[in-house]
Symmetry: C2
């Protein structure tokens, strides 16, 4: 669900109480009445919302693990802990939580308070043949934190949220050493007094952690230039089952393949990232934004390509197709909408914005008048809708509406065909699966000189009890389409377990061999996040730690 227009949220004193079944803060969820009202906007939606179960009354399988005494103080088998750590926050996760399906609940949730605790947990798990699922804040939308591999094995969810401090700041080099469990607001609050910022603002910012961003190659604030967290990494510290991996703090290096790049995107399968030195920026002093309308979506794509290839590096360069623009409430006349933003910590940006707008006009765009009331017009409207979106998604899920997103990237030469083909064929699939017309919208979240990252939203009425199966069928068709078109199975949502079919086809086979060998070398017992990215080598099953 990672995405990129949150502009530097203000510091929150304490993190809000989290929803155990759905997105974000518990008190932000829509009421039953709001859900019902929302459902009326989707023809064919249910009349009443699915009830939210009582978390204390869930039928959880008995915990199969007895914590070792040394680790017992860090562990919890409380129903709310186990339930809230069973799933990520995908649509299918929310539906299964609402259905009270917790067969896959971890046996224990362990919350290390020091890096040594992480080492101890991995040592114990390898010895006891227990699977370890690293858990930041659980915002995965690809099954990244949900154990599915071996039904008889014990499983712990390794929750890193207590490792949440900014440990050290190097003002001269503009870098900070930060623990992996820090949520976005916590991390930024630690940097703000120094005039610095990481400026990595995924849509999940409030409810995701640095370690999660690193392990999944998250996509952040910038629509151009440094889009993924990868480029903001100076060095990583990773606890692997065979030892701690710490890279040198370097601004650049050519000493062999990058050690960090092996762990970036390893999604908890090779080790547990415990801290990182991150490259920071000064807080932007100059900002400007504008909205451009296009009557023709293909002209809009050409415009965005020109902007992406201009070397002008807009901070925001988000193209909403007509359906997406209508859904977000920023255009209702069939226009495509380009939301542009420019910023700098050092120099005024009005000139740069003017150059971008000239390019946009040259490609048929019309610059919208600024809405002085709402900050910056469509950009403001869009941002508000964007932050509210996951809560609306949950509400629609409760109304048995099938509503989810997926994203990809491809080169510009294939972008128009990809845009049309995926929208067209997927609309057919949605109709076949749900019996309704449904909606398939697209926006470009990030753009590169060589191609865009299209992000699709699907909305259609589902059949109560069959919502997950319906979405899975639609998603499977989407993955096939992306594969046929040579596009990536994910630009920034990661692979997890849900994208394995697409990833297994996309990953070059020699690289698969190398990755499997690396996994075997670093995690010989195969305890780390089994089922994610790659299957470990076959192994014998022993269950010394099982109690039930």
């Amino acid at each position: 669900m990672t995405d990129s227009t949150i502009s530097d949220p203000s510091p929150s004193s304490a993190p809000p109480v989290r929803s155990w079944w759905g997105w974000g803060a518990a008190d932000q969820a829509l009421s039953d009445a709001e859900c019902t009202a929302l459902g009326k906007l989707i023809p064919g939606a249910a009349d009443t919302p699915l009830p939210v179960p009582d978390v204390t009354a869930l039928a959880l399988p008995p915990s199969r693990l007895r914590p070792p005494s040394a680790l017992a103080p860090l562990m919890s088998a409380a129903p709310q802990d186990r339930a809230s750590h069973t799933y990520g926050k995908a649509y299918r996760d929310v539906l299964r939580a609402l259905a009270g399906d917790f067969a896959a609940a971890p046996d224990q949730v362990v919350r290390p308070r020091t890096e040594q605790h992480v080492v101890d947990v991995l040592d114990w798990a390898a010895e006891a043949d227990v699977a370890v699922v690293p858990y930041g804040a659980g915002s995965s939308v690809v099954g990244g934190v949900e154990y599915r591999a071996h039904p008889r094995r014990g499983v712990v969810s390794l929750d890193l949220s207590a490792l949440d401090r900014v440990l050290e700041i190097d003002r001269v080099s503009r870098a900070a050493r930060i623990q992996a469990g820090a949520l976005g607001p916590r991390l930024e609050a630690g940097l703000r007094p120094h005039g610095l910022t990481l400026r990595h603002f995924p849509q999940s910012f409030e409810f995701s952690t640095l370690g999660g961003w690193l392990a999944t190659r998250a996509g952040g604030h910038y629509a151009t230039l440094f889009t993924h967290i990868d480029d903001l990494v100076q060095s990583l510290r990773v606890v692997t089952p065979v030892g701690v991996n710490e890279s040198l703090r370097l601004p650049g290096s050519g000493a062999g393949p990058s050690p960090d790049r092996l762990f970036l995107g390893s999604e908890g399968t090779l080790g547990v990232i415990t801290e990182a030195w991150m490259r920071l920026q000064e807080r932007p002093r100059y900002k400007a934004s504008a909205t451009v309308l296009f009557n023709d979506v293909h002209a809009a794509m050409e415009a965005v390509r020109a902007l992406a290839q201009s070397g002008l590096h807009p901070a925001n360069c988000r193209l909403l197709d007509p359906g997406e623009a209508a859904l977000a409430g920023v255009a209702q006349g069939g226009e495509s909408v380009l939301v542009l933003g420019v910023e700098s910590a050092h120099v005024p940006v009005d000139g740069r914005l003017a150059e971008l707008l000239t390019l946009a006009r040259d490609h048929g765009g019309t610059v919208a008048p600024t809405d002085s009331g709402g900050g910056d017009g469509a950009a403001w409207t869009w941002r508000s809708a964007f932050l509210r979106m996951p809560y609306l998604r949950d509400a629609l899920a409760r109304m048995s509406v099938v509503t989810e997103t997926f994203e990809t990237a491809c080169t510009w030469d294939r972008a128009p065909e990809l845009y049309e083909t995926v929208r067209g064929r997927l609309a057919d699939v949605v109709r076949e699966v749900t019996g309704a017309a449904g909606t398939v919208n697209c926006r470009f979240t990030h753009v590169y000189p060589d191609g865009p990252a299209p992000y699709y939203t699907v909305i259609a009425p589902g059949r109560r009890g069959a919502e997950v199966a319906m979405w899975d069928e639609i998603k499977s068709a989407a993955m096939d389409l992306l594969h046929d078109l040579g596009a990536t199975v994910t630009h920034h949502h990661a692979v997890g377990r849900d994208h394995r079919p697409g990833y297994d086809r996309q990953r070059p086979e020699p690289f698969a061999l190398a990755l499997r060998a690396a996994k075997q070398a670093l995690d010989p017992a195969g305890i780390l996040n089994p089922g994610v990215l790659i299957d470990p080598a076959p192994r014998a099953s022993t269950d010394p730690a099982m109690t039930g």
Copy 2:
């Protein structure tokens, strides 16, 4: 020897005849008289140049390999081929070539004309237990193309220079599919008619290949932003002993650890890169440059840090310390010299240069008057000296002067200490080893927001016959210093065999295990560039293909 100020050389019709013992074009080498004159500038240098042996009269060990009939037409055991493929172009390589030391000559040089030939060579080599040393144009300065591992094993140098075409251009996505054996000028000549450029201009540009740049993470034109070739890669095609690895053409992806990043920097140990889709740029239309003088080198470093952290992305931002500036002939009064350049394909750059100069002045810099005669004053003088440098190095080598470079990178907080410590202690080492004061200069070749890449030059009179031993002693001390200071053993010269001691200390141990496992998975027979980066797992020696 990679470095970065060559501005877009004009297309050459045919590559020049290469020197078999020294740098670059044979006809650019200094004459005996020129060597003698140059030697007089270094107190303590020899009076007469070392003679250049007759390549046809070299005492090469007999070739131990009989080419298989299918590959015989691609193979050569001619003395000139074997001699010219024995070494790279480091100082110690030149000295050993001049000494006629060719004990390590490859048994055969094989020149594939198709990718299938590469597959066939690797299949044969694995079967016949022959080591394969991938060879682009042999510009390694770290022992990357020199076989040293097992004295009784047959060795082929796999020369990719016949795979030198630009195969395909995607104007829309600004990308091209290019064969790995293409030399810089050849590659740019193929792109120029389309108004495009790779704009990767290492110092070795004329005499190094795309595949070599990719395998070694070469540093190119830009002093900021995209410094290494890594970021210009859209997808790679790599022949490994277990199959061909081809990644999708993508502008960005978050699907697991990047497959390409495992092969970038693998230096021929995991596979042979045969082609790549590379990200291109439009040719710059606007350029501006300037020279700034500083009386205090520490003030100059602070200025460069401010520029690197300004977000203004100068294309060139090279700081020469007083010794380096004097050596290059751009300042003789003890000043440090900053050579600045800005360019764009799209918008005028004078404003950006003015902003950079303001920052430089704020830190105590004085902008030098433009020399209208010589292009752009110090920048021009510097560039001329820069391109001529490797030929001068060879001439000094013939005069038994110890003269070589090494480079590193560190964060800004440690940069002043690193600058002073390395210069100071290394001056002591040079004195101890050579008995003369010698010269230890430094420049910053690339600068990042979080740190510089310092590049050192050492010049001192050597003792005839002991030049290599003397340099090795100095270099070893340099590697120890860099290690103690937490700096990388190489920023863009790669690891090869010469940097193994430093790299082995720097590489995190879990990553070493992963890399060794990947090597074993992709190259189970251990034939690819043994001795580079990492030692393969121990293996039994069998010599079925040996003939002598």
